[in-house]
Symmetry: C2
Subunit: 220 residues, 2 copies
DNA sequence: AACATTTTTTAGACTTGTCTAAAAAATGTT
DNA sequence: AACATTTTTTAGACAAGTCTAAAAAATGTT
């Protein structure tokens, strides 16, 4: 069995390897987990002994097959619990993550599968992130953001790239929640801020920083 | 904040103080938590520094007001999670305890209250144990067991005193589950084994060991 | 290629919770 | 009351995970 701490390292390495297929650096992990590089080196040694990561000294680290399997199963459990907390216990989307960080470590395949069934096999968590299936397959949506949309193009909000409480609360205040339909009405070339029409009911202007973290599915 | 370990000690002391109001012994705690007396002494020192227990050297330990409050809130959370696991995820009553041992430590009053509401404010857990209310009040049912019933007396099963997997599975196999109506049809004076009529449909014979762990509400 | 900066690893220490072995106190027995 | 047994505490050690400070390796710059 792996400790909570080991699981959190595996999850961090998994997150940092998404997208690029380069090895993950010690410092990146340290920052992700808010710890020191020396602590990371120690833990990498341990995970390496357990064959959960591959490590070349001074070069970087990557997950092995079994390491990745564990990481994905934790992500799956995390996101299912987030769905439970949001849909069943009516927590807001900026509140679910902290609880899920703890719930995810209650490891039992049986528990996860039953939770999945109870929730009706959801495909996405409250932030639009895909829930890996039992076999660990993940359907990532392509990262088209509001910032990528051109004038007069339409989209539906399907996710966020920034998961911070402040960003999520800000979006909720503007009704920019999952499923919302938006249309680009104006782009200011000076600072790339964008004015959106929301659900064809009202307009709102958001910064480039905000628009490039809001994932959409383009509507024809 | 208290660690999982500290919480488990508080819970153990709470359980051991139920019924009798004598102080709890170091050895009793060690046995309950499957650890050594010396470890218990160490932890008692720590909990005592935090004013969660009162300790007189060589005499024994008891919970303070705040220690008891924490212990009860963990019991509340534990039993609510057990209800969730049994009713919503359809785990059997001999399977829920282990998961609840982990879930109970996800401490957040808000989470507990929402879970309580989601479950419809249950009064008892899947083993018939009372769920403490938000203020920590517990409605213990009085301990009348099948062994206390006289010939031809009737009762409804409302709880168990032994929570072991083997006992719970055994009872389930005999359909001696919560809510079942039973009537004492025969008592063997040699070994105190009892023959029961179950739900007025069939008969079964159980040992004294089994009958004195099965809590009933007597029916007139 | 030589020097400067950044990144990573090592060395050694600290905290939490555990253990064994031994000492001290309490309890039981004659 | 004296001795034996049991219970509890103390002393000292260990594993997990963390930290700071310093050494080693890699990378960047002239
Ligand atoms: Mn999350
Ligand atoms: Mn999420
Ligand atoms: Mn239980
Ligand atoms: Mn129970």
């Amino acid at each position: 069995m792996n400790s909570f701490t080991e699981e959190n390292y595996l999850k961090a390495i998994f997150k940092l390897s998404l997208g690029s297929n380069k090895d993950v650096s010690t410092n990146a992990i340290a920052e992700q987990l808010d710890t020191r590089a020396s602590s990371v080196t120690d833990m990498i040694k341990k995970l390496s002994d357990k064959k959960l990561v591959k490590h070349v000294k001074y070069k970087g680290v990557s997950l092995t097959g079994s390491g990745k399997k564990i990481a994905v199963s934790i992500v799956r459990s995390h996101r299912l619990w987030e769905v439970f907390l949001a849909e069943k216990l009516h927590f807001k989307w900026d509140e679910v993550h902290e609880f899920a960080e703890e719930l995810e470590h209650i490891k039992s395949d049986e528990l996860t599968e039953r939770l999945d069934a109870f929730l009706g096999f959801p495909k996405h968590d409250p932030h639009g992130d895909p829930i890996p299936d039992k076999e660990g397959n993940i359907n990532r949506h392509k990262d088209i953001t509001v910032a990528n949309l051109k004038l007069n193009e339409k989209g539906v909000i399907v996710g966020v790239k920034d998961h911070s409480k402040s960003y999520l609360k800000y979006l909720e205040r503007l009704d920019l929640i999952l499923g919302t339909e938006i249309e680009v009405k104006d782009v200011v070339d000076f600072d790339l801020s964008i004015t959106l029409s929301v659900n064809e009911t009202f307009s709102v202007s958001i910064s480039n920083q905000a628009s490039k973290n809001l994932i959409v599915k383009k509507l024809k």
